[in-house]
Subunit: 132 residues, 4 copies
C-alpha cells in the first residue's frame, strides 16, 4: 500500500492552509512507501535551502518510520545514533518529517516540511499527515 | 520575475489532464527562474526512474532557456556540445523539457515531463507550458 | 506488492546455478518494487566492477519496468533517449537487468546480473527472474 | 585471504536466525577483505533507511579493522577522530559493524547490521561474525 497522488495533493493542500494560518512560507514534500517523491510544493517566498531539507525530512521519516525529531534525539553527540545523518545520501533529523498512515494504521508514505522554526515545521507537517 | 506556486500548480493540472487524455502516466516537474523545484507530481503507476528525469528536464530547459531536445541535437557525438550531460549534476537532453514564459514573453521557469515516449512527454510538457 | 526476501533468495539461487552451469562468475542483485536492494550475492572471483553494475541493472529494470537492453537500444547516439544514463545517479542500459513478475503478472521487483558477456548476463538474469 | 560467498551466506543465515529470535527485522551486509559487498539481505519489513547503514557499518568495520562502536567513541566532539564520518563517502560509527576473522584470527571481511537498537544490531552482527 502506497500513498496515491490524489492523497498526496490533499496532504499538501492541508499543510499549505496551516502554513498560511501561522503566516509561514513552507517547502512541503510527500514521499511514497518506497521513499520516492510523489508531490512537492514550494510556497512563494519560502527559503530556497529548505527545498532539499523538506525532501530529506520526508525520506528520513519513511526510512525509519518515525518522526524525524526522534531520530535527531538519538543522533546527538554521545547518542546511540551519533552522525547517522551521513547515511542515505544525507538525512535531516530535526522535526518536520512525519510518517503518513492510512485508516488501518499502515504507513503509506511520509511528509516533510521546512521553512520556519522546527516547531512550525512540525505543526504544518502534522496538519498534512493528519489528512487521512 | 519567477513563476508562482499557483501558476506552477495550474501548469501541473493542465499537464495531468493532457496526460490522462493520451492515456500516459507522467512525472511532472516545474522549476522557477532560478532552476529550483517549485512543484512536482508523480501520477499513480508512473515509472519510478522518470522522477529524476522529469526534474532534470525542467532544470535543463531553464539552464539554457530552450527546449531540452534542442540541447540534445547538439550533444551528439561530433556535435558542438558533445556530452554536455556531464555538467550540472546530470542533464537530460531529449524532449520533454520546455521553458515557461509569461504573457510578456519573459522566461519565468520551466516544465519537465517524463513517463512515456519522448513525443508524448513533449506534448504533455507543452500543454503545461502553454497554460499562461 | 513487493518481492519478499525468501523469493529474492530463491531467484539468486536459481541465477547462481545457471551461472555455474555456463561457467560464469556473477554479481547478482535483487531490488524490490521501490527499486531498493533486497538481496545480493557476488560469486567468488567475480569482477569487482560488476558489483555496482549488477545493482544499477536491477534498479534500471525496475525504474522503467523493462529489460535494461531495451533502454540501451533507445539511448544510443541519435536515439530518442540518448544519454538517459546520466539520470538517477547512473543507469546501466545494456542487457542483464530484468523485471520480476509474480504469477498475476504484476511487477514486484527486478534482478540485475553482471560478470560475463551481456548475453550470459541476460541468460543468468532470466534464470533468476523465471523462478516464479 | 578473503571471505567466500558461501561463508558470507552462512554468516547472513546465522544473523537472520538471531534476528528472528529477538524479533527484529534487520538489514545484513557482508563485505570482503577489500571492503566490497559480497552478500546482502533485507528482512521483510525492515527499515528502508537501514539498508545503506548496514552496508556502511560493514565497510567501516573493515576500513579500520575494529567494531564500528569503537570508531564512534573516538569521533565525538573533542575526540581524536572527530567527524571521521565525512570520509570514504560516509561512515557509520555506532555499533552494529564487526570484522569477521577466520580460524587463524586473520580478518577476512566484516558484517554490518541495522534495523533495531544499536544493542540489538551489535548482537545480531556478533551472531553472524561468530559463525566461523
Amino acid at each position: 500500500m502506497s500513498i496515491t497522488l490524489e492523497q498526496a495533493e490533499q496532504a499538501i493542500a492541508a499543510a499549505k492552509e496551516k502554513a498560511s494560518n501561522i503566516d509561514a512560507k513552507m517547502n512541503i514534500a510527500i514521499v511514497d512507501a518506497g521513499a520516492n517523491l510523489v508531490a512537492f510544493a514550494r510556497m512563494d517566498g519560502a527559503w530556497l535551502g529548505s527545498l532539499d531539507i523538506s525532501i530529506k525530512k520526508a525520506k528520513t521519516a519513511r526510512f525509519f518510520d518515525m518522526n524525524t525529531g526522534i531520530v535527531g534525539s538519538l543522533s546527538q553527540p554521545g547518542g546511540s545514533l551519533y552522525n547517522i545523518e551521513h547515511s542515505n545520501g544525507g538525512l535531516i533529523t530535526f522535526p518536520g518529517g512525519i510518517p503518513i498512515k492510512n485508516k488501518s494504521g499502515e504507513i503509506i508514505g511520509a511528509i516533510g516540511v521546512s521553512g520556519s522554526t522546527v516547531e512550525n515545521d512540525h505543526e504544518v507537517a502534522e496538519a498534512g499527515a493528519k489528512t487521512f
